[in-house]
């Protein structure tokens, strides 16, 4: 009788969040990036990335139990040499929700409670890592059991002041989970009774000490019994720090400021959500000295390739890896077969001969200056193709398609492999959601045994419908964003409508407006909205090539998320930038009914004009 379990493979296109993948699924589908390798270093890092940009995947993959399974020579070398031992601590919304729900606590009590909980959570993360280390470094099962027993006993003694005894890591994990729960119960019990009972001890008192002291003790003990080299560096990955508050960031900063021995921090958060550089030690953090930022939205791929092709390669790798791990269903399916080429973005074979349709459209839609320039370049075909045709093809085709729409007609131009990838803004979660939306709508052909044999290409109109629905949904869910949802929605609407009008109502030039310029005089309200939009991956800063991890502060150029292009019927392509103040002077926002209801007296007032001004920057 066979004892092997049947293998059940989940459809990984239905799971867009790294947090929800099993360890083996994440390892098998992970695409290492430059940012990832940077994290494997003896430095403190704050990883910045918009929602869905892959921060959690990076942080999890740094942890020892994931890294040790990654089929990569460099990773295996790191694991083998015990150079870096990573631990992963999530600070999920539920975890933070149980931290912030005690408004009666003083600032000091809040800090102490945060430290207590993070001490417990980091020790739990440490225990997972220790198990992984035991499996990796101690081959003999008997010897491993003895080491585990010895270590568990010492840790239990240290973390409970001798009150708890155990000989397995699992028992110790249970103990930590229980004291976390008991602590919460004790707090509410004391509050409801108006005080503690006589002789009632504080639950888990040993974790009331300095932040990460219990963890450091654990590291010392593990290093001793597992014989880690002296230069072994421990990396603590703290995920989703955007949910924490400023006081928590200050505490974490204080640790990064101080000498931390062989323990370094990798903290993930959203852009502009590292709330302070302040510490509790008087001196502020020094970027570059105490820590470095790693901005992962600008980190599409590790391997260099032909310029402009990196995104495509990254996306197809993500698709292929997911398809492979999802079993036979997607065997042989490629994005190119499923989606075909993009009419707007792959204009390689377009006809620009004098009597062609493209030339007619150019004459119809281009500005006078652009027409004159085209006329001048006509004699030099390669210059004409590069400076006029290449730049204007998508815009004139899109404008014509929208012009020709009548009644219930549907667009088909938001289609093709390149378009789908472009509309994801290279955000992995968005990519997978888009892939999943397409795969759900695809028509699968089956063979006589009922197995999937091939998949039919998805019609361009269907693709456009899917991408537009995705785009609209991405925008509409902004409305409930904490604190500024309606304002942010109106702001993005204003930008999108301005770009739409520039493309569809004004004479076209070779560059369409796709970005906004922020000046230092920007009012706080707008700057706050820009930061939030960057956090959500709906605006992206054009970062300085020499300093790509530094987020611009009240200054710089930000491009509109391509994910919103189908909703506003604009071109997902880098073009010109326009000053935000100019955009807001010109825009006329037709606020949809759902937002009309949310307009509040203090909300942004957009100035409307029927005649958009067109002066350039």
């Amino acid at each position: 009788m066979s004892t092997s379990k049947p293998t059940f493979r989940r459809d990984l296109f239905e799971i867009e969040n790294a947090r929800n993948l099993t360890r083996d699924e994440l390892v098998a589908t992970f695409v290492p990036t430059k940012g990832f390798w940077r994290l494997l270093s003896a430095k403190n890092h704050i990883v910045l990335g918009s929602r869905g940009s892959g921060k959690t995947a990076l942080a999890k993959m740094v942890s020892h139990d994931h890294l040790s399974r990654l089929q990569d020579e460099r990773a295996q070398q790191i694991v083998k040499s015990k150079a870096f031992i990573g631990m992963y601590v999530p600070t999920r919304l539920e975890w933070v929700g149980a931290l912030k729900n005690k408004p009666w606590q003083t600032e000091r009590e809040k800090e102490e409670f945060f430290q207590w909980r993070l001490n417990v959570s980091s020790c739990l993360a440490y225990l997972l890592t220790v198990r992984s280390c035991l499996e990796s470094y101690v081959d003999d099962i008997g010897h491993r059991a003895r080491i585990e027993s010895e270590l568990a006993a010492e840790l239990a003694d240290s973390w409970s002041d001798g009150k708890f005894k155990c000989d397995t890591i699992r028992s110790l994990q249970n103990y930590l989970e229980d004291i976390e729960h008991k602590k919460q119960q004790q707090i509410i019990r004391i509050r409801s009774r108006g005080g503690a009972l006589i002789n009632e001890d504080s639950v888990g008192g040993t974790f009331d000490m300095d932040l990460f002291s219990p963890l450091r003790r654990g590291i010392t003990l593990a290093s001793r019994v597992m014989d880690f080299p002296e230069d072994c560096t421990w990396l603590l990955c703290l995920d989703e720090a955007e949910f924490l508050e400023l006081i928590h960031h200050r505490i974490l900063n204080s640790l990064m400021r101080a000498y931390s021995g062989n323990l370094f921090f990798k903290i993930t958060t959203m852009p502009y959500c590292h709330y302070t550089l302040g510490t509790n030690a008087g001196a502020s953090l020094n970027v570059g000295h105490d820590f470095e930022y790693v901005y992962v939205d600008q980190d599409p791929i590790l391997w260099a390739g032909t310029k402009g092709k990196e995104g495509l390669r990254f996306a197809t790798t993500v698709f292929t890896k997911r398809a492979l791990v999802s079993g036979n269903k997607y065997k042989g399916v490629t994005l190119a077969d499923l989606l075909g080429p993009s009419k707007l973005l792959d204009p390689k074979r377009s006809d620009w001969t004098p009597g062609s349709r493209n030339m007619a459209l150019l004459r119809r839609y281009a500005s006078e200056d652009t027409k004159k320039r085209a006329e001048r370049l006509k004699s030099n075909r390669s210059h004409f193709l590069d400076q006029i045709a290449r730049k204007m093809h998508g815009a004139i085709l899109l404008r014509q398609s929208v012009d020709r729409l009548r009644g219930r007609g549907e667009l088909d131009v938001y289609s093709g492999e390149t378009m789908a990838i472009r509309c994801s803004d290279m955000n992995p979660r968005r990519l997978i959601r888009i892939f999943n939306s397409f795969l759900l709508e695809a028509i699968w052909r089956r063979n006589e045994y009922g197995d999937i044999r091939s998949v039919a290409p998805i019609p361009a109109k269907e693709q456009t419908r899917i991408l537009t629905a995705f785009s609209t949904s991405s925008l509409s869910r902004v409305q409930s964003e904490p604190d500024c949802g309606p304002e942010l929605y109106s702001f993005l609407q204003a930008l999108g409508i301005y770009m739409h009008k520039s493309l569809h109502e004004m004479p076209l030039t070779t560059d369409q407006i796709s970005s906004l310029i922020i000046e230092p005089s920007i009012p706080d309200l707008y700057w706050n909205l820009v930061q939030r939009a960057v956090g959500l991956g709906l605006l992206f800063p054009n970062v300085n090539a020499n300093n790509p991890d530094q987020m611009p502060e009240r200054d710089g150029t930000f491009h509109f998320g391509y994910v919103l292009a189908p909703h506003f019927r604009i071109l997902p392509r880098r073009g010109r930038a326009r000053r935000l103040s100019k955009i807001l002077e010109n825009v006329q926002v037709e606020v949809p009914s759902v937002v009309k209801e949310t307009v509040r007296p203090q909300q942004i007032e957009f100035i409307f004009s029927n005649d958009p001004k067109t002066e350039g920057e």
């Binding site: 909980r117 739990l124 869910r477």
Partner: protein
């Protein structure tokens, strides 16, 4: 104390019963006084009227305050919607005089969920009392003018409902759906659970409310593994069905309730979180441009929650639902 039983009761039973203590809330909703007006004052030994610190210059609020001051108590306990401290101290003062058994009436029609969770937490940890019976009453809302959409301000665990709190397992989220579809999606985006379940009121106050709830939450419903339709008027049924829903996930997942629907469904979620201590219950706080003055359909939902000192053997609704012992091991 152990949460011993949750049961639906008739309103007539409430009207005829003698209570040691009644808690009312005075806010900006017309329905604040609906149940109080039907009760006989002589059947209630002590009264606590809680007043919202926020939005206290509203005309309807003024009328409600006047009513409570004239007929019930002129000493209103004013507290913030995010604060439950005064609940404990107020009940403590009354309970000091009690002995074995305490009967409490809570009109939670217009209460902050923190306040009625506070009453439950107090009962859970009360000392020196053998048995506490809390009758929760709720005047079903008539939302004739739907308010402006809610803008989220924070996501917090209801005190005492923090659950396992160390997020190391797979996560299961159970959303109670209301009219705030976008807000629910916003929570979903942040929680990013492995599995999603939803429940909504059907029958609701009116048939159109169910339809509106479904249309507002269509995207979330499409992502859910299962949708439960549970009666608005039965906390007992809601409690039992939700207990059965989460039962297979206990010990294997971090379960979080996010009740965003009508209050009886919120109450059921809080009770589950108190009963199964590893289950968390989140509260999504938000603000609106204009507060919605909710009237009432006239219908009242009454629920009895029974706390008892732990006994070796218990017969309760919890056994009916075939639920395993509470602690994750």
């Amino acid at each position: 104390m152990k949460l011993y039983r949750v049961s639906d009761i008739q309103v007539s039973e409430v009207l005829e019963k003698m209570y040691d203590l009644a808690l009312f809330a005075s806010g900006y909703e017309e329905r604040c006084t609906h149940i109080a007006r039907r009760l006989a004052k002589e059947r209630i030994a002590n009264t606590i009227v809680l007043g919202f610190k926020e939005i206290n210059h509203n005309e309807q609020r003024f009328k409600n305050d006047l009513y409570f001051a004239e007929f019930w108590s002129n000493k209103q306990v004013e507290l913030s919607t995010n604060d439950d401290g005064a609940i404990y101290t107020s009940i403590q003062q009354v309970a000091r005089h009690s002995v074995d058994k305490l009967h409490i009436l809570v009109d939670y029609s217009s209460m902050s969920r923190l306040w009625y969770a506070g009453v439950l937490n107090w009962a859970r940890f009360a000392l020196g009392i053998k048995e506490i019976i809390i009758d929760f009453v709720y005047a079903v809302g008539d939302h004739s003018h739907f308010g402006s959409p809610m803008v989220i301000t924070d996501f917090l665990c209801i005190p005492g409902c923090e659950g396992g709190a160390v997020p190391i397992y797979k996560s299961v989220a159970v959303f109670g759906l209301g009219f705030e579809g976008l807000a629910a999606l916003c929570v979903l985006d942040r929680l990013e659970p492995d599995e999603v379940y939803v429940y909504l009121a059907n029958p609701a106050a009116y048939a159109e409310y169910t339809q509106k709830t479904e249309s507002q939450n269509i995207e979330l419903i499409n992502q859910a593994r299962a949708k439960l339709e549970l009666p608005l008027t039965s906390v007992e049924n809601t409690f039992r069905h939700l207990a059965e829903l989460i039962s297979p996930h206990r010990s294997k997942a971090d379960i979080t309730f996010i009740p965003m629907g009508p209050k009886p469904h919120v109450l059921a979620a809080i009770l589950l979180s108190l009963r199964f201590e590893e289950v968390a219950c989140l509260r999504v706080s938000g603000k609106r441009d204009k507060p919605e003055d909710v009237g009432t359909t006239g219908e009242i939902v009454a629920t009895r929650v029974h706390f008892k000192i732990r006994q070796p053997k218990q017969i309760s609704i919890i056994n009916k639902a075939n639920i395993q012992p509470a602690h994750k091991t």
